[in-house]
């Protein structure tokens, strides 16, 4: 029955499909119906690919019918953040400047999903060019948090998180540059991972900040996220920054879920002022839980983490000011003002003015400033030095512990409109997630309860060394199992936003 299919995890769907209990066509149809039923309220999707999804599902069913051995994700629906290029489907990056753009090539990750037989059901909403923490910077309207439709689903991968939390797809792909997978996952009560930078491929990911952008998985369970993580990972010769090393055994670690004897460090600096009390209390309980499961807890200091936010808001805008220069109305995308009287520069300037939103403009100008001669050393150059110091903080910390933990984000989901025109307040959402983006190591957010003051989800962040992504899944799975045991059901089952009642 359709409702049941959309409530199943990707792992369970995979098993059912493999056992022939259900067809991919049925699974896909069920999810498309769910999307049709709720997305007018959630607005997770910018484009629903109904026809191509059903066609893909039919192909998978045929291949399975012929006895072809298929991977675990074959026939399972996945939602793709609109920052990944997809042939046959539009790619807008949440921006007017790319409205209607149909790329002539697939991102490597898109290709890997297709090769795995996953069913791409649509492209999800996002903050414009991945800049934001609420999806309110989308040129096409915000997405809404399935827990409370007046709240943001986080950002920039807000559409992907909302889609998963609203049962529109069991899996989604997002990108994390300053926290854009983990923070939405946290405020939507699901799982989201930022893999080791370079652990998969950025080819076909429209660039925001090249040295920080990291594609990653979102799912309702740790195992689901692990399955997707494995399917998209691995070296890509088309991406010079991708790492040629074996994919860490994330699925095995998620199934193993044993943290006894693991050394876990609580980052002292990621707490205190600006952190919602309910977030801190749920986080503290999560730490106690891990201890009760056999982990050894210590407090660790990472003194330069307090400079992570300013360093990030210099490095990312600098790289983006250059990455977004290509949007100039000459070869694709929006073109405004070409009436035969204006020269190329005027048309460029008018197009970019009309095509970019406020946050994008802010960051481009900020980046142009930070790279200007005379300012480079004091701003961009200095930020890169801070980056080195943060990497050293992590190295020192990981010399003492196996993983680090913190809240994923200082607050639960805020209201739509609350921080929309207050950039500084908005940037604070990234406080906990940014250090791992700067250092390039792996980090995950897993649900650890609801904040007592408002009943909204809180995420536990786990951070692991470069290429030790499996440790994330080991710890997250252990926490998830213990919590689910304690609650009697997955956290998401308590989400009231869409149904108005518990199912």
């Amino acid at each position: 029955m359709p409702t049941e299919l959309t409530r199943m995890t990707a792992a369970d769907l995979s098993a059912a499909l493999a056992a022939g209990e259900v067809s991919s066509a049925e699974v896909t149809r069920a999810h498309l119906e769910r999307i049709a039923a709720v997305d007018d309220r959630v607005h997770a999707f910018l484009h629903v690919a109904a026809d191509s999804a059903m066609a893909q599902a039919a192909k998978v069913d045929e291949r399975r019918g012929q006895g072809e051995p298929l991977g675990p994700l074959a026939g399972v629906p996945v939602a793709v953040k609109d920052v990944f290029t997809t042939t046959g489907l539009p790619t807008t990056c949440g921006s007017r400047i790319l409205e209607g753009w149909h790329p002539p090539y697939d991102a490597t990750i898109t290709r890997r999903l297709k090769q795995a037989g996953a069913i791409i059901v649509g492209k999800t909403n996002m903050d414009e060019f991945a800049m934001g923490s609420s999806t309110e910077n989308s040129a096409f309207g915000p997405s809404r948090n399935p827990w409370d439709l007046d709240k943001v689903p986080g950002g920039s991968s807000g559409g992907s998180a909302a889609a998963v939390a609203a049962y529109e797809a069991p899996l989604a792909i997002g990108t994390d540059t300053g926290g854009s997978i983990r923070q939405p996952a946290a405020v939507c009560g699901i799982v989201g991972t930022k893999p080791t930078y370079g652990g998969n491929s950025r080819y076909g990911v429209v660039a925001f900040a090249s040295s920080l952008d990291t594609p990653g998985p979102l799912g309702r369970t740790v195992l689901d996220a692990a399955l997707l993580h494995e399917a998209i990972s691995g070296h890509d010769p088309c991406d010079s920054t991708s790492i040629d090393a074996p994919v860490p055994p994330v699925v095995a670690a998620a199934r193993d879920a044993d943290v006894s004897g693991m050394r876990i460090g609580v980052v002292a600096e990621l707490s205190g002022d600006g952190y919602q009390p309910g977030v801190l209390s749920r986080f503290a309980e999560a730490v106690e839980l891990l201890e009760s499961l056999g982990a050894k807890i210590t407090e660790v200091s990472c003194p330069h983490f307090r400079y992570a936010l300013p360093a990030y808001y210099l490095i990312a805008p600098s790289e983006c000011s250059s990455n977004l220069a290509r949007f100039d109305a000459m070869r694709y995308g929006l073109r405004i003002g070409d009436d035969g009287t204006r020269d190329a520069e005027e048309v460029m300037a008018l197009t970019r003015e009309a095509g970019f939103g406020a946050e994008v403009k802010r960051r481009i100008i900020l980046g142009t400033y930070a790279l200007s001669s005379g300012y480079y050393d004091a701003y961009y150059g200095k930020a890169q030095q801070v980056r080195t110091l943060i990497i050293r903080d992590f190295d020192a910390a990981f010399g003492q512990v196996d993983v680090l933990v913190s809240p994923a984000t200082p607050t639960t989901a805020f209201s739509i409109g609350e921080r929309a025109d207050d950039p500084m307040a908005m940037y604070l959402a990234d406080l906990c997630t940014i250090p791992s983006d700067l250092a390039g190591n792996a980090a995950i957010s897993v649900p650890c309860g609801l904040a007592p003051e408002n009943g909204l989800p809180v995420g536990l962040q786990v951070m692991a060394p470069v290429l030790a992504d499996d440790r994330l899944y080991r710890v997250a799975a252990a926490a998830e199992a213990a919590f689910t045991g304690r609650w009697g059901h997955p956290l998401l089952a308590e989400a009231k936003g869409l149904e108005g009642r518990r199912p």
Binding site: I243, A311, M330, R335, V386, G440
Partner: protein
């Protein structure tokens, strides 16, 4: 004040964004606030600390000098705002390079 309205206007021109006066009025104070905040990085004692431009530590990633199939002209020009003689048609460009 870290940055003036005029400086913001100048940067917008450099970045080829035709900001309206109203936008300038709105963005300039926000940018000033942001720049003041990010200037915090200057507090960090970083004497002798090498900057990190690439976190992975990779070097010498190359490809072989072997042809790979490319796009057809139709594919390349398909999304162009204007095309003439199988080329991208762009408004007049000023100046010499």
């Amino acid at each position: 004040m870290s940055i003036t309205r005029d400086e913001v206007a100048h940067l917008a021109r450099l970045a080829r964004i035709a900001l309206s006066d109203a936008e300038l009025d709105h963005l300039a104070p926000q940018l000033d606030q942001i720049i003041t905040a990010v200037a915090q990085v200057q507090e960090v004692a970083a004497e002798g600390i090498p900057p990190t431009s690439h976190a992975t530590g990779l070097a010498n990633v190359f490809r072989d000098d072997v042809p790979v199939p490319c796009l057809t002209p139709e594919q390349a020009l398909d999304q162009a705002p204007a095309v003439e003689q199988q080329r991208f048609k762009v408004p007049r460009i000023l100046g010499e390079d």
